[in-house]
Symmetry: C2
Subunit: 364 residues, 2 copies
């Protein structure tokens, strides 16, 4: 190194390092720019917003040195191609519901939600303290070259919008219901005809009567899509999605290229995104549901016979998928083993408290 060059560089370093009490602390950190492809449109503020939280917080924690630009579904790739885009390095990162990739490998379904699975809090416990993170990432990194970071949950979803009442199992026969994945396989065993439709096609299909019913997510989102105008009955609970988790997917090479501080910062920002999304849905669903009911929507609980038959059908689907995929079997058995203990605890204390509060505040 020439003396002149050394002195110049040295002066920059020294200046940044010796300003007493100055908050500009990041002069020696590398500048990194990533792109995040979301599977969601900007209009869904809670779910799309989780990706924005990750971006904003990573920037705040690095003084703007590590920038992640967030792109809505379709901007770089369509929402359902986020896994491909992360895997092949088109983008460093995605934010998605990994059960969208069920068609590539059924194991992906277990990452988001499967019928009669963990609720949101139980999912967090499974992921963070039950071994779920490690087990699921063995699958995602080993088979797809992507690292999965928990980044959001919708909470238990609603059962969806129906043009006619469901009073028993007979009403499921031939029912054209927009529903996909493991849930579709389960309901097909009871005579439902699952329909796969993109979000933008659901409304017109319901309106025309081309389908009889459609499920989307929770009141805060459902209201925006206007289903209340074309289907009168709003059923609960969405027993196939008791606590759907969202994930950030990160290309494993991109992850490995990060300084360890940035990796830790990215992980922490995803946890903030996780908390944000669940809290935002919880804070907004009640008001949306109240408006929907005020507008004439009829809230209906699925009959027990439908839920119990669905539970049995789900076990058959799990047996089929476990026979086809060793990864599915391994994670399924771990996930539902963990659930057994969770329910043994929740049904004693948490559920009793929640149910009492629901009863005592019913007038409120």
């Amino acid at each position: 190194m020439q003396r002149r060059s050394f002195i110049q560089k040295a002066a920059v370093g020294a200046a940044a390092g010796t300003i007493a009490g100055a908050p500009a602390i990041v002069s020696a950190q590398p500048q990194i720019r990533w792109r995040l492809a979301s599977s969601f449109p900007k209009s869904l503020d809670a779910i799309f917003g989780a990706g924005e939280v990750v971006s904003r917080r990573v920037s705040a924690m690095t003084g703007g040195k590590f920038q992640i630009s967030v792109h809505a579904a379709g901007e770089i790739v369509p929402g359902l191609q986020v896994l491909d885009a992360v895997q092949n390095g088109t983008v460093e990162m995605g934010h998605t519901a990994v059960y969208y990739f069920f068609g590539k490998e059924p194991t992906w379904a277990l990452g988001t939600a499967v019928p009669f699975g963990l609720n949101a809090r139980q999912y967090n416990a499974w992921w963070h303290q039950g071994g779920g993170d490690k087990l699921f990432n063995e699958f995602t990194t080993g088979k797809f070259g992507v690292h999965a970071l928990l980044t959001g949950n919708t909470g238990a979803q609603m059962g969806g919008w129906f043009r006619k009442e469901i009073n028993g199992l007979d009403d499921l026969k031939g029912l054209k219901f927009r529903i996909a994945g493991v849930a579709g396989m389960m309901l097909a065993k009871l005579g439902v005809v699952p329909q796969q439709l993109a979000a933008g096609d659901i409304y017109s299909s319901l309106e025309k009567g081309a389908i009889d019913a459609a499920e989307w997510t929770v009141p805060h989102d459902d209201e925006k899509l206007g289903f209340q105008k074309v289907a009168k009955y709003y059923y609960y609970p969405g027993f196939w999605e008791g606590g759907p988790a969202l994930h950030s997917l990160v290309n494993t090479k991109a992850m490995a290229s990060l300084p360890p501080e940035y990796k830790a910062i990215l992980e922490a920002a995803c946890e903030e995104g996780n908390a944000y999304m669940m809290s935002r849905y919880d804070a907004l669903n009640a008001a949306a549901l109240k408006r929907l009911i005020g507008g004439g929507v009829q809230l209906k609980r699925f009959p027990n016979a439908v839920m119990e038959a669905s539970y049995k059908a789900a076990q058959e689907v799990y047996a089929d998928l476990s026979a086809k995929s060793a990864d599915f079997k391994k994670i399924h058995d771990h996930y539902f083993g963990f659930q057994r203990d969770q329910i043994a605890w929740f049904r004693v204390n948490e559920n009793t408290f929640d149910d009492f509060m629901a009863q005592v505040r019913r007038g409120g």
Copy 2:
């Protein structure tokens, strides 16, 4: 600055700043050392551990430049003096259950848990998206010079350990029950004689019959303290603690002295501590409860008459405290207004899903 001194400092800065591709990115960040005083002993791994998570993650995100040493109750100050220690700058930071400071100002109780309050998930929603963070911090910074960061939750606690059965309101008359704060005021209205005892004195008091009952937290902690050896009946739910939240308290001057990146990092680490603690309790409570029952403990649900009378008594206590403290009234009204909407949503969808799962997996 002398030329020689300048060159020496410059060389250090330049060397650290120009190693191509090296992950040592933090040369220009200030070195900061803080002390965190916990209100808890090291043996309570989930609750004490939340403070350790904050420390470990702040260090990881700053390459060890921002170090927070974590001290168990009694190491620097007793557990119940954490607020004083943070307020007067003895330590920069504490980790505590802020309802311990109910005696200074009743408003503190609302930060942790009050009878028939928010459950853990609802508390997160209130804090992060309902305005609770802002409102509560107006109180803590304005009146006490400390900033509160949400850092943990136990979930709904158990009702505690009883030497005799509680079959109705008559069994509460004269009952010497180790319980404090707003919960003690509520139960006193029903004839209970609240007893304030430090953790270390509960076991011997129960054993000698000096008290009739004692509440602590959840099975994972309760089992360690051995109450099952001296009280046969384990009651649920702890309706005065439906989702007790823990907080980090940070001296406002210490907080203001942080570079903005470190402030963001500290906030994110607290969110990680928040997720850690809830997940850890959830993952461990089931096994502890199973062992307790296997060892002969009798699990009992409080009679509805007791819970309903307690609910009425709680409203009287809230009216009294609201009359005494404008801060209490302001935050109470906001908190319970938020709860009304939460319950309206949870009782439809979340509770129905959870209750169905408890029923269908009862045999499992």
